[in-house]
Each structure stands twice: as C-alpha cells, then as structure tokens.
Symmetry: C2
Subunit: 470 residues, 2 copies
C-alpha cells in the first residue's frame, strides 16, 4: 500500500539546508515573520477563494520529523547536532490568517507566520503546497457555481486528478460551491456528500442495455441514475431508461434520473426532458458530464439546457489551464528588524514589517473594491491608500468602513480559532462572494480589485530600499 | 498529521455501486477485461512517456478496504453482505503492460487488466489517477530534457504542485529525464537525488548579502550555491558570490555555483559566467530558475545562455497548460464475450476483444511510426493495418519487423515482472526516445504517429456494431 504522511520531510531541501545554517550559527532562537500572498489571479479571473487553512493548521499542530525522515537526513550528511534538534522539532509559532473561504486579491497578505526562524522557514513549502492548490480549486469551483444557478455541481475528477491532489481538490470544490464528490476517499476523510452514477462498462457487461438498467434498478431501487449514451442516447438509452423507470414505479420506486456523457448536451437534454415528462417522469433528474468547465456550463445554461446536475472532472480538479496559484511566502521581519527583497521586476519587491490588512466596505455593506495594507504599529485609520508599485497613484478611502481581515488562528503551535465545518466555510465563501460586485466576477476582463498600502508602510519600504542601495 | 493511504476507498463511488450490483446479481465470479489507453497527446506534443506502472502494481498487490473504509460504506448504506465481501477483497487479477518508460501513442492499448468483474472494475479510478498523472509529468519532463542538451534539470515544484501530487510528479520527472528534485519527501520515498540552493529569505534575514553568503559557505563549505538576485544581481549578488568563493578557495573549499531567479536569464548568465571565469572560478556552476518550461529552456539554449542547471517548478509539476492526460479504462471483454461502446463521436468507439499491440520497426531499428493492434487469437503477422476510425485508410507494414509491446507483469495479483530501478526506467525511456524520429519530437505540429488495427479486429468491431444496431 502506498501511504503518505505529511511529515517534516514534506518540504524543499533548501528549507532544511537553510535551517541547518541558522542552527549552526546559533540563530535558532532568532525570530522571523513571513507573509503568504499571491500575485496573479489564475485563469483570467477577478478574485480567489482562500482555501486550505484548516488542513494547514491541522498539519502544523502535529508536524514533526519521523525516524525515517531523520535517517534520510543523516544520509544527506546533515550535521548530527542539527538532526538531534530536528528530532525534537515542533512548530510552536503563531499564525494570523483571513477566514478560510475569504475572497482574496493579489499582493494582499492573507496569512502571517511568526516564530523562530527555523520553524517559520521550514513550513514554507507545505504551507504553499496546500494553500495554493486548495485555493486554486475553490476558485475554479466558484466560477462554475457562479454560472450554474441553482443546478447541482458534483466533482467527478479523481481519475484525472494530479495523483493524491484529487483528495484536496474535492475539499476545495466544496468550499467553492460544489455539492458533492465521486471521490470516496475524500468524502470519508472530510465528511463530504458522495455521489455517482454508473459507467459504460457496467452496461456493456450485460448483453443488452435494458438488462443492465433492470439489474441496476433492482440493486439500487431508490438511488439509480441511468447512463444513456452507451449505444445511442435517443434511440436506445432514453427509451430504455423510461421503460425501466416505469417498471420501478409499478413496484413503488422512483428512478433518480439519467446521465448524458457525450453529444450535444443542450439538445439532448431538452429532448430527453420532454420524453421523460411525457412519460410522467417529471421527478427524474438529468445529469450531464463530458469535459465541462465554467464556460461550457455558462453556455449550456444560456441555451436553456435541461440539466439538473453537472458532473465536472478534469477541468475542475486540475484548475486548468493555469493549474496553479502563484502564492509565495516572503520574509517581512527577522531578528526584530523589517526585511525586504528587491527585484528588477517592480511587482516582486516585497512589503516589510508586521502588517494588518483591511477591506474597505461601502455604506451598503458591499466590498468597495479595495484592500489596504498597513503596519500593525499604526494607530490611526488609513485615509488614503497608495499603489504599492506605481508612484503617485493613490485612492481616498477615509469615508468608508474598514474591516480587519487577519485574525490570530494559532498561538504557540496550538489552534485557537474556532473550528468550522466545511459547510460553514463554503457558506462563508458564498456570503462573501455576494458582497463582491459582479464586475469582479465576470469571466471577460474582470474589474481590477485594488490593493494599496498606507503611507507609513510605503515610507518604511522606501527607507529600506534606500538603505540597501547604500 | 495528515496521512493518506491508498486503500480501497481511493476510487469513485460508482465503482463500488456497480460492484455491489454485480455482487448482488451473483456475478462476482464473472470475468472481465479492460484496456487502458489515451486519446490525445497533451500540450500539443507528439508522444507520451508511460509512467506510474510500478506504483500501480505496488498498490494493487496490497489493495484492500480498511476498517474505516468499510464503516464509511456502511454509512452509505451499501448492502452488508457486499461489505462482508469487500472485507476480504484483494486484487487477484492479471495485468499485461508496456514497459514503464515506453513511448506511447493515442488509441493504442498500453495496459490490460483481466480479473473477475468486481476487481477489474474497482481498480479503474486509482489506475487512471496514477498512470495519467505520472505519464503527463514524465512527458512534460522529457520535452524539457529534449531541448536542455547536456544541462542538468532539477524539479523545484513542490510548492506549486497540486497537493500530494507533487510526490508523484517528482518520480515522473526523473523518468522523463530530470536529474534531481528539491522534494525531500519524494527523494526519500523513491530514492531520488535531492537538490537545492538557498532562498531570498535566508539572505534577507542577515543584515547584508555578504554576511549571508559567508554564513552559508561556512555551514556548507562543499555544497553551496549562492542566490544572487535578492538585491541586485550584477552589482551586488555576483560580486559578493565571487568574494566569498575566493575566501572559500583560500580555506581549501570550492563554491558550487550561483543561482539566477529573475531578470533576463540569457543576458545575466552570460555576464555572470564571464565574471566568474575572470575571477578564476570556472568550476562554479550557474543555476537558473523562474517560470521555466520547455519553450523557455529551448529559447535560452538557442541564445547561448550560460546555464548549467535548470530548476523547473510550476510548469513541470502541473503539466500545464493541459494539466492532464486523458487516459481511459474501457471494457473489452466480459463473461467471455467481446464488448463494445458505441458513440456519436467516432473516435470514442472502443476496440473489443483481447488484444496485442505491436510496434513497427524499420530495418535500421528505428520506430517506423506505426503501432498495430491485433486480436491475441490471430495466428498470422498483420501485413496491412487499417485506420481504426476512417474507413478505407490502410498502411502496408508487412515488410517490417513487429515488436510486441505488452507483457504479463502481474499474475493473480502478484508482480511477476522484473523490478526496475527508476534509473533503469529513465534509461529505457531515453533509449526508446532515441528510436523515435525527431519529427515526432518537435514542439510545433509534430508528425502524427499512426495506430492501426488488424483486419480481424476491425471485422469483430463491425460485427458487434451491427449486432447492437439490431
């Protein structure tokens, strides 16, 4: 059996190499602070749904190096006193974060880790790995949710998922607004609704489609969806499904529905709906699958397709075409001093210091379209926010309410935030998305949400830049 | 700690639902045979490198339902006698497969599972999940290997990988021609060479870049690569790296090299190479990273960039933009009869029966550019192969040698094939790729490799089609 436990070695080698240097230099108790943020919304979207926090916090509470990890590090010739130190390693830092399910935007710090420099550095890779991927999928799912109206959405993607990434994808999909998953492992682990129909192979394994449908109806009289495109959707699949559904009625049962998996889903669903209705089978649902994504779902609903449930696979669970959120984890403080990374690419210059982030809210309670990043040491509310990279650009936000986004969720390695169910998290994402004006949610050239910085933060960054230039 | 073990529940719900029906209908000892193949080469390429076989076989030898799996299935209201059956479930089927590392093409059966209908059905999802993903990444890696010449390639992708998919990605990358990975977990699990440098945060955590380089050199005197773009690559990073490398020389050590992570990698690498050489540091290598893929690597090498090692992240481990191989698992026999799926999409009609696949080889020992699929019952060598979907198209292959691709690798659930090291598998992929003419390897409109069928197979399919139409 292939087993994977996310232990200390679930990281890039250089995290361990750097930590060894800190240790050997006597810096193990130096403090450090890192910010997690991303730079670009994937797939040409206007927002990202933040997901993966609970998984990360759960991993951090119990993160350690196993005996196997340590013996591998010995093989790699790490210093034995450092390996002794890792043997007792636990993450005992603090974490501040947005709520899981928050709607987030580029260049705004979403999560902050404070701790000793070794623990804060060592968790970088795993934190990025989980948050980047779950957020990618929650975002992709929310785009499908946005255009699916009141139709149900089910994750059918495990077979095309990137290995065990499919497990996290199922979770991300629920946060983004999906109702269920075909992935039994994920359903079991995260307590998600499991869903599924039947495969072509099932039907082919019988000598006739009718026989296959009857066998399935007998085994699952209260939960049976007939796949109707194995031979010919309209000439064979739908008529056979109707025949068996009527037989079920006479035995006091109700068929669940049919699934279309090829051909013109708009056309076929309308014809099938008509035929089901004419047979008095109004209660039977129509499930559609086959290379769906947010664009296909939008087009199908615009065409008035008679689809009740979309089963989405590849393009959900891989978040294609971008397939990654570019989240990064950047040092902002070390040994009590604010720290900065310069870059020839202006947008890659980081924001130093310990920071708060606030969301600007209109008098109607909606998102105004701006987040502002300030230093925690600032006493006063920020009236004007400045563009982080383009000098001279500013925006007056003084009249609006500002809602703090970050809260302490972990203290000295222990989770102190409330534990939310996935349903709660999905509900939060849904409510927050309702506050985001539609201009940011459209697929074509969505409106650009502004993230600005306070005057003091800008001044600190400029000062550090000058210091480094000297 | 988040732990994942690939058990029986690592599957789509419908595999279990269908299996329950087979069980309840008394069909548990019926036989079935499934083919694994894919339909489209991802990312506009001309071939796929087959990877993941050893992982799949290892999982199958020990596949079972855990107590947790079974109690979850009870919650889902599966029949208790079926759950009792699953309690004792083991995969005891046969598997025939291409060699791992084989170069494979669309619509050609690559792997065949024979077993009872429940075991053969239940393994579908996990087999697709692992083979599709590892093959995707091995293929992506091989495209980078193709243009990287004799430069080294290292997987730096875990932070952007799709969750735990990053573990399999590291393995796939090695099969496709990468030399190392930054992923410590994968290196440990699969015994891969681990590699890494240092991060910007390390440098920023010191009061000066020079101080940071000195600390690193002291801690890792024989294995140190300096990241040079934290403040200014040419004005600060490279000069400081040279200073410290010269100090190391005077202590009898040699710096490993420098890493460029932003800016114009072609230009910067040439200037940096010059400066290193002028300082007598010919032995120092130049590592480059930052959004690399096969196209960027190709362009860099064409520009004469002085790069010795490419560190590739996101675009390797996610296989973007397609991010998935569309492999499918289709029933070809059940209860001793050949089976067929029809479809309105011609290319989705399956190939019935138990089949062999042969690769046509020229007199020079190269791949001729054609694989032929025949029925195992055929006694004679196939002289003419037919297009599987376009009637009338055929190709004479009688003069050429035909090499069988499938061999039995698992018998009654036990691995009977030789166990190959990853180095062996990567070596096989490399040797086989050398036999593939370059037309199939180019990035722009690669030549179309032909997969055809024997006359008897075509006749069997036509006959089954006719039977169903009646």
């Amino acid at each position: 059996m292939l087993s994977f436990s996310i232990s200390g070695s679930y990281t890039d080698l250089y995290e361990i190499t750097m930590s060894e240097t800190y240790f050997m230099e006597g810096r193990k108790d130096d403090t450090a602070c890192f910010d997690y943020f991303f730079r670009k919304v994937p797939n040409k979207g206007g927002y990202v749904v933040f997901a993966g926090l609970q998984d990360v916090l759960n991993i951090l509470t119990d993160l350690h190096f196993t005996d196997d990890d340590l013996s591998f590090l010995r093989e790699l010739k790490f210093n034995s006193s450092f390996i002794e130190y890792l043997k007792r390693f636990q993450f005992r830092g603090n974490v501040y974060s947005c709520m899981e399910g928050e709607i987030i935007f580029p260049n705004c710090p979403i999560l902050r880790v404070e701790g000793n420099i070794i623990e804060a550095q060592l968790v970088e890779t795993l934190l990025l790995n989980i948050l980047n991927f779950e957020s990618l999928i929650a975002t992709k799912a929310s785009r499908m949710r946005y255009v699916a109206g009141n139709r149900l959405l089910s994750d059918f993607g495990l077979r095309r998922a990137q290995g065990m990434g499919g497990i996290l994808a199922a979770r991300g999909a629920i946060i983004g607004g999906f109702e269920s998953t075909s992935n039994v492992y994920a359903a079991q682990l995260y307590r998600l609704p499991a869903a599924g129909t039947m495969a072509h192979s099932f039907i082919e394994s019988y000598d006739s489609e009718l026989e296959a449908f009857r066998a399935f109806a007998k085994a699952r009289p209260d939960d049976c969806i007939f796949l109707v495109d194995t031979y010919d959707t309209l000439k064979s699949g739908v008529p056979n499904a109707i025949t068996v559904a009527k037989e079920m009625e006479s035995n006091g049962h109700r068929a669940g529905g049919i699934r279309l998996d090829s051909g013109d889903l708009a056309y076929l669903s309308k014809v099938a709906r008509n035929e089901l209705d004419e047979a008095g089978l109004h209660y039977m649902k129509i499930v559609a699958s086959n290379q769906l994504d947010e664009y296909v779902i939008k087009s199908l609903t615009e065409q008035g397709a008679q689809i009740d449930i979309f089963g989405v696979g590849t393009r959900l669970v891989t978040g294609q075409p971008d397939a990654a959120l570019d989240g990064v984890y950047k040092l902002s403080m070390a040994s009590g001093k604010p720290r900065l990374k310069l870059s020839e690419t202006l947008e890659k210059i980081t924001l130093p210091g310990i920071k708060h982030t606030y969301r600007v809210i209109t008098s109607d309670g909606l998102f105004f379209g701006a987040d502002v990043v300030t230093l925690t040491e600032e006493q006063q509310k920020t009236d004007i926010m400045y563009h982080p990279f383009e000098a001279g650009k500013s925006l007056v936000i003084g009249n609006f309410q500002q809602e703090p986004l970050l809260q302490k969720v972990m203290e000295k390695g222990k989770i102190i935030s409330q534990s939310y169910s996935l349903k709660d998290i999905a509900g939060y994402a849904k409510r927050r998305l309702l506050l985001l004006p539609t201009e940011y949610k459209r697929f074509e050239n969505p409106h650009l949400y502004k993230v600005g910085v306070s005057k003091k933060l800008l001044a600190l960054r400029d000062q550090l830049k000058d210091d480094y230039k000297k």
